[in-house]
């Protein structure tokens, strides 16, 4: 009882203090000496369980069991000499066709996020998007287990596969405002993102080593004019993927993060190639992310990252591959610059001719919640029939509401 009274007294006096200005003007004769204060602190009751309800009425009034809500807006103005050869779902779509230029404004993507704990055993994440004002899509909606034994984690729902590095990322977490060419060419227009399940295991070794096994029901693509790796057969003809990810903290500043990736499924076919319908496709590849960021980065703001990813595809009798490689440099508090080279058809095949693209970006980060991003690219078709094309985009990206942690 005495303790409770003392506690109340302490809390009460704390509240009174907090309402004063930032400092105490008069040294005051009433204030106990540091020694007495230390004795008080040493004897103060300690609550047993965290989190404790805040004694502050204002904070308590805003307690809420709603999920964290966020809205991300990517508005863009752009110009392209002709429509890109392959467009990912969340790339800016200015319209236009293979021979005429296009320009104008578009809302590249509007994303709504709902995230939170379901109960002590699950958390849930839902992301709805409207790309290029073309209708509401479920980008992801999945449940993740939080308390399985043996360092296992299970994810169920519709989600982005962890295959490679860029596929798992949302538009606003990428360094560039357009996906690499291999996303649409080897995974799908929206990447490998379908209803399915994932089991992931953190290996009991002294470093980070994670194995993911995934199965998806990939739906058929909208058209068969471009080669598509997965999505053939029936809903029960699953697409399987496996990823092994390892991380090496070389020093406090220097990190190397790499993955080996493998996936197999059935091809939905390709116009003019009836033999490909239902043919088994294999995708194997590797990704590497190297980052140099001094631990006291806020002092000089310097960060340099190099990302590269490679996919080799076997589709019926055809074998081809694609890659991208990008360097991003943060050189000031608010500025970063990057360059990326995309190559498809390395080796090339009849269904995947050599195509390449060079992109340069400049990003101004006003705050954690607002960025202006410029992107200029030149696409090379390496063919006399298709003209090379220049395109430029200026994007404003706004993040409203809850702001999730940044994945490495």
């Amino acid at each position: 009882m005495k303790r409770a009274l003392l506690w109340l007294l302490l809390v009460g006096s704390g509240g009174a203090w907090a309402q004063e200005d930032a400092f105490v003007e008069d040294a005051g004769t009433q204030e106990p000496s540091l020694l007495d204060q230390l004795d008080l602190a040493a004897g103060a009751p300690v609550t047993k369980a965290a989190p404790t309800p805040s004694p502050n009425l204002f904070v308590r009034a805003f307690q809420s069991l709603n999920p964290d809500l966020s809205v991300i807006i990517d508005g863009v103005a752009g110009y392209a000499e002709r429509a890109p050869l392959r467009l990912s779902g969340d790339d800016p779509d200015l319209g236009g066709d293979a021979t005429t230029p296009a320009a104008g404004f578009t809302l590249q993507e509007l994303e709504f996020g709902f995230q939170g704990a379901v109960d002590p055993y699950f958390r849930a994440d839902v992301f709805l998007t409207i790309p290029n004002l073309s209708g509401l899509e479920v980008e992801e909606a999945y449940v993740t287990s939080t308390s399985l034994p043996a360092d296992l984690q299970v994810k169920v729902g519709i989600f982005r596969s962890a295959l490679g590095r860029q596929n798992g990322q949302h538009l606003h977490t990428q360094s560039f405002t357009r996906r690499p060419l291999l996303n649409a060419a080897y995974l799908a227009d929206d990447g490998l993102r379908s209803p399915g399940a994932q089991v992931s295991w953190l290996a009991p070794v002294p470093f980070f080593l994670q194995l993911n096994l995934e199965a998806f029901s990939v739906g058929p693509p909208e058209g068969l004019s471009q080669p598509t790796t997965f999505g053939g057969g029936k809903r029960t003809d699953l697409t399987y993927a496996a990823e092994l990810k390892a991380f090496a903290p070389i020093s406090d500043a220097f990190s190397v993060y790499g993955g080996l990736n493998f996936a197999t499924g059935l091809s939905p076919g390709l116009d003019g190639h009836p033999e490909l319908e239902g043919a088994r496709s294999f995708l194997s590849g590797a990704d590497l992310y190297v980052k140099y960021r001094p631990a006291n980065q806020r002092e000089g703001f310097f960060t340099l990252t190099w990302t590269t990813e490679y996919f080799l595809r076997t589709l019926g009798p055809y074998l081809d591959a694609g890659l991208y490689s990008q360097l991003v440099l943060q050189f000031a508090r608010s500025w970063s610059v990057g360059v990326r080279e995309d190559v498809l058809g390395l080796p090339a095949s009849e269904i995947q001719p050599l195509t390449s693209k060079t992109s340069v970006m400049l990003t101004f980060t006003a705050t954690e919640f607002a960025r202006v991003r410029a992107h200029v690219e030149r696409e090379f078709a390496h063919s006399p029939d298709v003209q090379d094309s220049m395109a430029a985009y200026l994007l404003l990206e706004i993040s409203l509401g809850a702001h999730g942690a940044h994945a490495f």
């Binding site: 369980a49 965290a50 989190p51 939080t146 360092d151 991380f247 406090d252 806020r298 002092e299």
Partner: protein, 297 residues
């Protein structure tokens, strides 16, 4: 395969052994020092961030998930200080013991009297305001004692068999703080009434302890680069009030503060804010000494 199984069994068994030290993981190095003092030989402590790093912006490097995966106790600052990186790590760690609300999760902000709790609804238009209050609370002796006491209580809860040991360790720490307190008080006396400007609003716990007056801030909104208009006003304010010192955490870029100091006829004090901010600051005691020394410059 046999080897792997053997390794797995060993790891499992290690967790169950009672005399194995408790694995304590902290988000900042000051908490690691306090946990080592209170836990003594019964704990093995690791900090996720370095003292020379801005604790708001730590990379969520995957190896930190491995560290958290093997933790029995996570001690964190709370009040959203680590919101930009810690949630991903605790989710990826697959360790039920340290999830929010479990006995292996200690939010140290529940142990101290939190200042700057917003009294109006916060908005991002105010900058990066922490809705739960100001999280930079670990430096003043009263708070360090409260945190150490809270760590001791939690360790007793996790290892009831070692309760007497943790109590004794805490008393040892308290005695050392009390032994050094008179000297600190003597050093604090001439600082009372000193007028300062700070870069980020992260020194209020220290300035309240030392009765230093904070006249203004280089950042007019927390976490947002200051505008030239604000800086001009700040310089005028500093000249008017005779402010001679600007406190800046060592990990922040000093160029803006230097410019303001030059124009206002003041000097920049580069302040360590965590254990490990400099190689010679190896403990919370060193940190307090270093801060008092720096403020007296």
């Amino acid at each position: 395969m046999n080897r792997l199984l053997c390794l797995l069994t060993m790891l499992g068994a290690a967790g169950a052994l009672a005399d194995e030290p408790l694995a304590v993981v902290t988000t900042i190095e000051t908490f690691a020092d306090l946990a080592r003092r209170v836990g003594g030989e019964k704990v093995r402590v690791e900090s996720l961030s370095r003292g020379y790093q801005d604790p708001h912006f730590v990379d969520a490097r995957p190896n930190l998930m491995v560290t958290l995966n093997r933790a029995d106790l996570l001690i964190r600052v709370g009040l959203d200080l680590e919101i930009g990186w810690l949630p991903l790590l605790t989710q990826g760690a697959r360790n039920e013991k340290i999830q929010p609300g479990q006995s292996g999760d200690l939010d140290a902000s529940t142990l101290v009297e939190v200042l700057d709790v917003p009294q109006v609804k916060v908005s991002r238009a105010m900058g990066d305001v922490h809705p739960g209050g100001n999280p930079h609370y670990w430096l003043p002796p009263v708070n360090a004692v409260r945190i150490a006491r809270g760590i001791a209580e939690r360790l007793k809860q996790l290892r009831p068999g070692d309760a007497a040991y943790f109590d004794a360790q805490f008393q040892k720490f308290l005695a050392e703080v009390k032994q050094r307190a008179p000297a600190w008080e003597a050093r604090a006396k001439p600082l009372a009434g000193l007028k300062v400007v700070t870069y980020h609003r992260s020194w209020i716990y220290v300035t309240r302890w030392l009765k230093i007056e904070e006249v203004g801030y280089v950042e007019n909104k927390p976490g947002v680069a200051p505008s030239p208009v604000h800086l001009a006003e700040l310089i005028t304010l500093m000249q008017g009030q005779g402010v001679k010192k600007i406190l800046v955490e060592e990990f922040f870029n000093h160029s803006i503060a230097e410019t303001v100091a030059n124009k206002a006829g003041a000097k920049v004090l580069s302040m360590p804010s965590d254990v490990g901010a400099r190689p010679e600051i190896k403990s919370w005691f060193d940190l307090v000494e270093a801060v008092l020394t720096q403020l007296a410059r």
